[in-house]
């Protein structure tokens, strides 16, 4: 078995198991903790709609905070949207997903994907520079922040290098890319990248608690 076969086969498979099992473990570990009922008389209805409302609204910044958070927020948007596009709208990725999902969807032209991928990498680097230089971020950052950054940027960079080749064989570069994706999948459930799924729980919880009070969300 060569490196590419290993990457496409056992590596990706094991990574997928860990991604699913780790995520379920983390979500269940949180949901299984006790929760006290709230007996206070609600001002207005809360529930699932309130959760959905805040899951949506918190994607945007409230105007009093816009000036102060504009720079990191813009970078974060570029990085997230770039990642979404690269992962889900790059034609070879769609073909890969079709392999086990059985259906496909339209993708974006390669040049657009390449541009978005580069933008995401640049934004990621700018965010790292900010983390290393801003006094608040320096204080609150730990291993998870830096390793999660690496685990996210590594597959992006290896993917972008495939068409460039830089002296390696296509197969070798593809194998490294797939292995870097496997690393991302393995790490995702454990550290801060878990916000991929936790964001729905945290925002949703706040929506349910504060909307029933009629308080600001």
């Amino acid at each position: 078995m060569d490196l590419l076969e290993f990457a496409k086969g056992p590596a990706l498979q094991v990574a997928a198991y860990i991604l699913v099992a780790g995520s379920i473990w983390r979500i269940v570990g949180i949901l299984l903790l006790k929760e006290k009922p709230d007996y206070s008389e609600p001002r207005q209805s809360g529930g699932l709609l309130a959760a959905l409302k805040v899951i949506y609204t918190r994607s945007f910044t409230a105007s009093p905070f816009k000036a102060a958070t504009m720079y990191p927020k813009m970078l974060a948007y570029v990085m997230h949207l770039g990642l979404f596009a690269v992962v889900l709208l790059f034609v070879p990725h769609i073909m890969f997903f079709e392999g086990f999902l059985g259906f496909e969807w339209p993708g974006l032209p390669n040049s657009v994907i390449f541009f978005l991928g580069v933008a995401a990498v640049v934004a990621g680097i700018a965010l790292l520079v900010r983390r290393l230089t801003n006094p608040v971020l320096r204080l609150i950052s730990n291993f998870d922040d830096y390793f999660s950054w690496f685990a996210t940027l590594f597959p992006l960079v290896t993917g972008l290098l495939i068409p460039v080749r830089i002296g390696f064989h296509y197969e070798t570069l593809l194998a490294i890319h797939i292995l870097s994706v496997a690393l991302l999948m393995i790490w995702l459930p454990f550290g801060k990248l878990g916000h991929t799924f936790l964001v729905f729980i945290t925002r949703g919880t706040t929506g349910m608690v504060f909307e029933r009070r009629g308080a600001k969300t």
């Binding site: 473990w25 983390r26 269940v28 570990g29 949180i30 949901l31 299984l32 903790l33 006790k34 929760e35 006290k36 009922p37 709230d38 007996y39 206070s40 008389e41 001002r43 805040v54 918190r58 910044t61 409230a62 105007s63 009093p64 905070f65 102060a68 958070t69 990191p72 927020k73 974060a76 006094p135 608040v136 971020l137 320096r138 204080l139 609150i140 950052s141 730990n142 291993f143 998870d144 922040d145 454990f190 801060k192 878990g194 916000h195 936790l198 964001v199 729980i201 945290t202 925002r203 949703g204 919880t205 706040t206 929506g207 608690v209 504060f210 009070r213 009629g214 308080a215 600001k216 969300t217």
Partner: protein, 453 residues
Amino acid sequence: MTTVDGRHEIDREAERLAYKPPEIRHDKQGDMPDEERINQAMHHFVKNFNTQTASYLDGCLHCGMCADACHFHVRTDDPRYTPIWKIELFKRTYKRQVGPFAFFYRLFGLKRHVTIKDLEEWQHLLYDSCTVCGRCSLVCPMGIDIAGLVSMARHGMFKAGLIPHELHEVAKTSAETGSPLGISPDKFEERVEWMADEHDVEIPMDVEKADVLAVMSSIEINKYPQSIAATAKILNASGETWTFRKDGFEATNFGMLSGNPDWQKAASMQLINAAIKIGAKTLVLPECGHAYMALRWMGANMYGKPLPFKVMHISEYMADALNTGKIKVKKLNKSVTYHDPCQVSRRGGATQAARDVIKHLGVDFREMEYGGDYNWCCGGGGGVVTIKRADPLRHRVFKLKMDQVEKTEADEVLSSCANCRQSFDDSQAHFNWDYTMGSLMETVAENLEERTS
């Protein structure tokens, strides 16, 4: 050649040349050994970990944006005042002891155990430099309610005997006497009689059956006793059967502020029992922010089931009485701005009530820039105004409030919280500031129109 004492840094932000104060006091209550303090803190941190807190503590991205929403950080640029950093020990304990991957954290020593030195340091962060105003909770992209976590982290600090002496003292007095300032039922009655006399208003006391139970905060009873008369005038004018009770008059809840759920429950139950005893349909809370949080949103949970009466802040009661025509007020010819008490507006959801009242007063209302739910806190909430050693920091933070008020160029600033009022008065004296905070309730009481029917 002289040598400069380098132990204390020069504070270049201060208005006059000054050295930064020496290292902050670390107060300790009781005489338990340090090991026991750590165990107590851990145990009572862990008691607060439920699905809600767990998702919050697991969800932080370390983006640091909460620092931009916190008045303590904005005014000092001290990274330790980043809201999420204030609950770092609470977060660390969660990850080590309870989180889904706690086993790995402990096995590989990924999160170190909390030490007594950590806890001492965090006393300043959890008490002196957080008013639980919840502004940070609104900026968090993950929607984490950081202020709520600070309140819970205080539970562990209290049980470990690691809270500021002043706050402990008032909380203890409150638990022992029923009032943080030691106001006995007889003293309350005395004050009520004095105010009835002074303001020529009828004030019912200890009525056996009444639709409304009114309660006061000790700051009002002690420092702003005219509030008692104002409450009476408004309730009389609205034609309610109402009463004060000597067995349930104190609305402040220092059990909640200091972090002792037992004392918090005892204080809430005192009011709940009094209201049930007289068959009250409504309990009207005074101009006090945290009293609203304690009874309106946490009272039923202390009681263990829904409350058999409605809980209203006085601003909500006034808005309702004005909107339904139960009371009427004269129009005032002046411009007014309004300071929102965080626990009533941002965190309590009653933001509109005060604005309804102000509309009836017919004034030229000037909303502060980012007023209402995004208002800057007075700096004295969450028990901070009680802590003497926090005064310099609190005054520094108050500058934001001063700017916000001054920009409106209003004739007068009103609010509906005696704790904010105390904080405003103190800072006003400190800065020789032109604005004196007025009470929304007293303004209404002074301008009530005589009932014609």
